[in-house]
Symmetry: C2
């Protein structure tokens, strides 16, 4: 564990080097009373999560990597070693100069190489309860989400799974859920607080027409539900043996989610594609998992066209072409449409300033 | 109210133009069920709060401006109009390109002129309760703070006031509090949740030796306490009629607070200065308000030397020379010591890239 350094329980901070995953860190933190909540689903390297600006299921309550990185050690393209908040510093806030830490979070390796990250830790929840409920429509599920957030219920996770995903999860993970738009919710707090949060969520979802609201407190049943959620990718893949998966994501203002989800379902149908929708609905972020016949290049072409259309639909609704997957190579055109000419020019000047020879992850993002 | 634009209650967002203060925005939001929690104490322009990266008493729970700005309209020094997250966009998260929004928050007007800000709103608390308690020592007050945070009590405000500040507040605001290190706490939530939070906070503070724990639910009594806190500056000024006030701030990892507070008290004594200490102790951030005889240039000189020493003490404890006041002119040397040569060079290159002619707030920060 020599790669987990400077764990400071009183200051809620830790330094990790490349290779340490969020699961390894949380295993190390077990019994400390603290944890690192950002969880992209699959086990991932924390420094990689910094570079991609990862988020995942807990972001609605605890924020994404952008809100949970206190300092970075970065090797700049010219070879200099930069400590974005100053060497060894791990304060919770500062008004000293430009926010260099924020510049590197989510830069996808194009501005420098992250060699250590100081992360902000959170108190581990005293108790946890999970709830699931099915809805007659996407609109009802999203309305419930907005009402839960407006009621200041501090939900830790609020995940949307569409009917296709639920069908796949039922089969793959031996669930027995309704094949309908569904929310998976998780609450963190004391026993008493949880009971109240659960009751309010149940009232709100039932006001919006939810059926089959059920909750689980026992660790085993909770794990089973989240394992099903985290295995959704494999569950959907199993719907069409031999097919390959293609995944994309967008993020829109929450109020526009029903509209884009309905449009997306229609697009899938019109294109004759098999796609499952699931997402971090409390942040307005969702994924579409598409199945492609590897023998059918024409289908792959349609999948790519669908993905581009989805990105443009998000942009038209004041959203972003990617909530957490990043730009990479595939979304460079969409990024231009998203931030406009002045935004692109500013990003290009940033890249040219820090990496004039174009050494860092060349061709990506811009 | 033509300067408050695009209020979107379902998406928890609003656009404000320069001149709108956080009080004006919250008055506008009254009865909407939402509010903007960042509150620097004095009434301030929201776009100015973006430029300075303001925070204040609620930051421990709701974050600073850095966590609550979704998009900015900025006139760049060359005259181009930049929308940092793309024109009209107000999503909660994104992984699309570099974080330009974060670059301008806290840049103190040196990179461009902010002409509109899209802010993230939060659900207004259903109920609020305030508590005060006095401690036998600074250490006991800080230990209580750490334990409250570790216990995941979602405290909305946790403010430290030293004995000098309490004495001044007693006199100026007709309080009847102990003249001792004191915490002012505030909790937000449902009635039931508040009762539990209050009980846990009382237990924790009493375990740490607190005396005179008292709480107030009624709006009038709560207002009286926060008015006293927000008037602390004037209360301290009133200790020495005719003197002028000089204010500085630093921020350190929370565990180092007792050490630096004790050192600071000793420094004040050694320099023969009258200074009061108060701060946002949940973030490790505190202010020192110093009184200077305007007829005594030598005293002003000692105040400046004290302020520089305080900044260096914070830096030596892995902290920052300013948690929320900013660099301006006075802390440029300390910024260099804080971020080091590579950090400064990176900031200078950023400034030169965006403002090659040095037009924007010249001479500040760098």
């Amino acid at each position: 564990m020599d790669k987990i350094l400077e764990l400071n329980l009183e200051d809620f901070s830790v330094v990790v080097e490349p290779g340490v995953t969020h699961k390894a860190l949380n295993t190390h933190l077990r019994d400390s009373g603290l944890w690192f909540p950002v969880d992209p689903g699959a086990d991932a390297s924390l420094c990689g999560m910094v570079a991609t600006g990862a988020s995942g299921t807990n972001a609605v309550r605890y924020g994404t990597m952008r809100e949970n990185v206190l300092n970075l050690e970065v090797v700049l393209p010219g070879g200099e070693l930069l400590h974005t908040a100053g060497l060894g510093r791990h304060f919770r806030k500062s008004a000293a100069g430009y926010n260099l830490t924020g510049l590197f979070v989510g830069s996808e390796g194009t501005l420098g190489l992250i060699t250590a990250a100081t992360l902000r830790l959170h108190p581990a929840p005293e108790a946890t309860v999970v709830a699931t409920c099915a809805f007659p429509s996407v609109q009802a599920a999203v309305d419930s989400t907005v009402h839960i957030l407006q009621a200041a219920v501090p939900v830790a996770r609020i995940e949307f799974l569409d009917d296709v995903t639920m069908d796949a999860c039922n089969k793959h993970s031996q669930l027995n859920c309704s094949v309908a738009p569904t929310l998976f919710l998780e609450f963190h707090g004391s026993e008493q607080v949880l009971a109240e949060q659960l009751q309010r969520a149940e009232e709100i979802t039932q006001d919006n027409g939810a059926f089959h609201f059920s909750s689980a407190k026992e660790a085993e049943e909770r794990s089973r539900l989240w394992a099903a959620r985290h295995s959704a990718w494999y569950a959907v893949l199993a719907l069409r043996p031999g097919y390959k998966g293609y995944s994309t994501d967008v993020c829109v203002p929450i109020s526009r989610l029903p509209e884009i989800l309905v449009q997306t379902k229609e697009d899938l149908k019109a294109q004759g594609l098999t796609g499952a929708i699931l997402g971090h609905v409390g942040d307005g972020n969702f994924h579409c998992l598409l199945l492609v016949d590897p023998e059918d290049p024409e289908e792959l072409h349609r999948v790519m066209a669908f993905s581009e259309l989805l990105g443009r639909r998000a942009l038209a609704l004041h959203g972003t072409c990617t909530g957490e997957h990043g730009i990479g190579l595939g979304k460079r055109q969409l990024l231009q449409e998203e931030v406009g000419a002045v935004g692109m020019e500013t990003m290009r000047r940033l890249k040219a300033m820090l990496d004039p020879r174009g050494l860092m992850n060349p061709g990506k993002v811009l």
